[in-house]
């Protein structure tokens, strides 16, 4: 301890920090915790966004909540307008989500819900506008069921094109369903800009309004029976996909088609069936939008729910129950985003940024329920004289 040694032992510790990612499956409580954490992060991140554009986050959130669900002032006088608007938005979101969820269960990447939606809307519109002139003796009450069937059939057949191309020629379904979106949407545009345009519409891009017999009745607010369709379809899908042998086959095929083939599953039949069902549900969404909400085929009806549907399907991990809940929440987000524009005078783009931000946070959260990331510390000691 006397003089400081000139040569002393130096111990250098080199730390290498690394992260490793291992797949695992989180249990229910972990998943709940991660969801809660995601919600907090999402709120913090959107608060930051509001501050950035000079808005009071608390005010903004409360106006978002009011926009999507209403508040006590409204509820106390029996006014549920905002909530009903959220439900109106939920109808196409839920139905298209269920459509892509069905196909995704089989790892059939149906990106074409928009196209099938458009074909459903077109077919239903065709029946609404022309069935009476083709068959004058057709009773009024029969038109809506016909539209219902035509919408589903059109969506199903349209989806089956991609299924057929895939099965017969190995055409990638992502490409074919995506390209067919443009075909269907342009066809619809051609129709309402051209031959089906309302003669009394003074050039407005849209068909004539449907006769009363071709409109579905409203349940409350602007909510139409499409909501019931959505919930019934959800129930049937849950039974089919999660409770029956065929649903088991679909799941198996999606996760390992080779093993499914070896276990004796008929891949061709199941692929066709799944795509028919998927397309039919998307077509039903299109039909219910024109006959329940817009009462005509016009610009804005084909609002492109397909992409939202893909996100919702993933967030709900391709499970039907969660898909219903997530559809509702996403719809609330869509509606409340509009509200932020109106009541706080923020630019329209803010609503979209907000939606993107929130979805992004939840998708990251979802990653942590599938993969465990742990920190690995390597310590290397280097000793020198």
């Amino acid at each position: 301890m006397e003089a400081a040694p000139i040569l002393h032992k130096k111990t250098m510790t080199l730390k290498t920090l690394r992260f490793k990612v291992d797949p695992y499956s989180a249990d229910r409580t972990t998943r709940l915790k991660i969801s809660g954490l995601s919600a907090i992060v999402a709120i913090l991140a959107s608060s930051g966004l509001f501050l950035l554009v000079g808005a009071n986050p608390i005010q903004a959130f409360s106006s978002m909540f009011t926009g999507a669900f209403g508040n006590w002032e409204y509820w106390s006088v029996g006014e549920f307008y905002q909530l009903s608007e959220t439900l109106v938005k939920m109808i196409p979101v839920l139905l298209t989500t269920l459509a892509v969820l069905t196909a995704f269960r089989m790892r059939f990447w149906n990106i074409g819900a928009d196209g099938q939606f458009a074909m459903g809307a077109v077919a239903a519109t065709g029946i609404a506008l022309f069935s009476k002139s083709w068959f004058p003796s057709l009773p009024d009450w029969f038109v809506l069921p016909l539209m219902f069937i035509a919408g589903m059939l059109a969506g199903a057949l349209y989806a089956s094109i991609s299924a057929f191309l895939k099965l017969k020629f190995g055409v990638n379904e992502i490409i074919s369903t995506l390209m067919l979106n443009y075909v269907a949407i342009l066809l619809a545009e051609y129709l309402y800009f051209g031959p089906w345009q309302d003669p009394q519409g003074m050039g407005f891009p849209g068909t004539a309004q449907f006769e009363l017999f071709a409109r579905m009745p409203r349940l409350f607010g602007r909510v139409h029976p499409g909501l019931i369709f959505g919930l019934v379809v959800a129930l049937l899908l849950w039974i089919w996909l999660d409770r029956t042998p065929q649903g088991f086959e679909v799941k198996m095929t999606g996760l390992n088609p080779q093993a499914a083939r070896y276990a004796g599953v008929n891949l061709v039949r199941n692929t066709l069936l799944v795509m028919l069902v998927s397309g039919a549900i998307a077509g039903l969404a299109g039909m219910s939008e024109v006959s329940g909400l817009a009462y005509r085929l016009q610009q804005g009806v084909l609002a492109g729910y397909g992409n939202t549907a893909i996100i919702v399907a993933w967030l709900s991990r391709l499970r039907v129950g969660p898909a219903v809940i997530v559809s509702f929440l996403i719809s609330a987000l869509l509606v409340s985003g509009e509200q932020v524009q109106i009541s706080l005078g923020l630019p329209a783009a803010i609503a979209l940024v907000l939606q993107g931000l929130i979805l992004f946070v939840f998708l990251i959260g979802d990653f942590f329920t599938r993969f465990r990331i742990s920190r690995v510390q390597l310590t290397t000691k280097q000793e020198q004289m």
Partner: protein, 510 residues
């Protein structure tokens, strides 16, 4: 190795754990230049884990690695490669759609924008001639047989001039002759001053190929000794910790009742060339027919046509007196065909599904698992718990995705499932490939029990010892034909090996 006192590689106090298991506990290993070091142990003993750490694929939880006496971290395979460490993995690490040359060059350091495949090809070709590793250079490796793909893996190491070469059970898919050739290659590598690690569970290879042997059991080192100072029985004892008697076929079965008969069966492979040429075989009730052959001579296609995964282009299949040619997979299952495929994760299992679900991926159609139009999930869960218990499959949680289980337990799940389905004919393809001695014995017993119970077993295997121990008769496949058939008791590995390599049993090479 006298005078060469400093180890090239020294692994000290290595610990590594995975969820639920400790794969390496305080493991020490010294590798010297010019020495072949065998790592012996059952599957799950921690051999592969230890070598994956050395190759930079895993990071140890604790412990240190010294290379030339210098403490070194090997955080990535690239770093391992820079340090001259290379590995031929048990499951090949090749990009299917790349050619052999592209795979070999992949990951090499070099100018970022310039890829000189032509000179690389030349170099690789000369290496492949030098070491008798015949490989087609410019077709995608995805279409190659397992045996050839392995050669690509070995060439990759040789091309990189690594100084420490790790072989993870390299002979598992080779014929005895090819294995001997590989042994000579390994010896010459060590003669050139390279350090070779040889992971195996074959004792013969340990004794013939290596200088030192380290036995691992349950993640711990049992012993490290020069090979000339241990006997075979000592090694076995160290490895499994208890005496073990290999089951053998009692023989003498002639039921005369035919279960399976193939008449002039022909089929094509995926590339559209003939894979089976006029194959004729018969399997009787209570008999094990072994199919020997180097992998890639039509065995896989033979299994596939028998389970309805591949179409016949000629000939007939008769099952239990019924012509089942052209039956679908489901019809064949219903007619009593059970199948344990060679590649577990490809055909046998649905990776992300749970153990319980995987146990019923064939049985879900049966009445007992249905309740009206619904699947009876409770019944399925109950039944799978029974099966798991009966076959002592180690499962931490039945709702765990099966791809998180060990290979041995995955194989047990498949076998248990197939045996629980009603069947007359069991087709098994390399059932013990990559499994440890104890699991191998369990599976062999299960196959013999099948035979005893009067089922017909078609055993397709590239392991001659397995074929000789279990089969009543052995048919040898070469280039899509049956080139010889003999009773297992009246043949020798040499005779089969000759047929397997197309040399014929003597007179005519056909």
């Amino acid at each position: 190795m006298e005078g060469n006192t400093q180890p090239l590689v020294s692994m000290r106090g290595i610990w590594k754990s995975f969820p639920g298991i400790i794969a390496n506990q305080d493991v020490n290993l010294d590798l010297y230049a010019g020495q072949v070091h065998a790592l012996l142990g059952e599957n799950g003993a921690g051999k592969s884990t230890l070598m994956n750490i050395l190759a930079g694929l895993y990071l140890p939880d604790a412990g240190e690695i010294l290379i030339h006496g210098q403490q070194t971290a090997i955080p990535t395979p690239r770093r391992a490669f820079e340090l001259g460490i290379g590995m031929v993995h048990q499951h090949f690490m090749l990009v299917d759609s790349f050619t052999a040359v592209e795979n070999i060059v992949l990951g090499m350091n070099g100018p970022a924008l310039k890829l000189d495949l032509r000179s690389a090809t030349k170099q690789i070709q000369s290496l492949s001639e030098q070491y008798n590793l015949d490989v087609p250079m410019d077709i995608p490796v995805g279409g190659m047989t397992v045996g050839i793909r392995q050669r690509v893996e070995i060439l990759r190491l040789l091309f990189r001039q690594t100084s420490i070469l790790i072989f993870d059970e390299p002979t598992a898919v080779l014929t005895p002759q090819e294995a001997d050739t590989l042994g000579r290659i390994i010896r010459s590598l060590s003669a050139e001053g390279k350090a070779v690690v040889y992971i195996t569970h074959k004792l013969r290879e340990v004794l013939e190929f290596s200088h030192m042997v380290t036995v691992l059991r349950g993640g711990k080192i049992v012993a490290t000794q020069p090979v000339d100072q241990v006997s075979e029985s000592q090694l076995v004892e160290m490895m499994i910790g208890e005496r073990f008697i290999s089951p053998t076929n009692p023989g003498g079965s002639e039921s005369g009742i035919e279960v399976l008969r193939l008449v002039n069966v022909q089929t094509m492979n995926d590339a559209g060339s003939p894979a089976l040429r006029e194959v004729n075989i018969r399997v009787q009730k209570g008999e094990i027919l072994g199919i020997a052959g180097v992998s890639g001579n039509g065995q896989m296609e033979l299994a596939e046509i028998l389970v309805g995964l591949r179409k016949l282009t000629g000939g007939e299949i008769w099952l239990n007196g019924k012509n089942v040619s052209g039956n679908s997979a489901r019809q064949l299952i219903d007619n009593g065909v059970a199948y344990v495929p060679g590649e577990r994760m490809r055909y046998g299992l649905v990776g992300p599904m749970t153990v319980a679900e995987n146990l019923v991926i064939k049985g879900y159609r049966r009445k007992e698992f249905q309740k009206g139009i619904f699947l009876n999930y409770n019944r399925m869960a109950y039944s799978s718990r029974e099966i798991v218990r009966e076959h002592s499959i180690k499962v931490p949680d039945e709702d765990m995705p099966i791809h998180l289980l060990s290979g041995g337990n995955q194989q047990k799940v498949i076998l248990a499932r197939e045996l629980h389905e009603p069947h007359l004919l069991l087709i098994v393809e390399n059932p013990t490939r990559g499994l440890d001695v104890k699991s191998t014995a369990v599976i062999h017993q299960m196959l013999l029990k099948e035979r005893e119970q009067g089922n017909a077993v078609l055993l397709i295997s590239s392991d001659l010892d397995e074929l000789l121990a279990l089969s009543d008769r052995i048919a040898v496949m070469y280039a899509g034909r049956i080139v010889g058939e003999m009773s297992a008791s009246g043949t020798s590995p040499l005779e089969i090996g000759n047929l397997m390599t197309g040399r014929g049993s003597g007179s005519h090479p056909s």
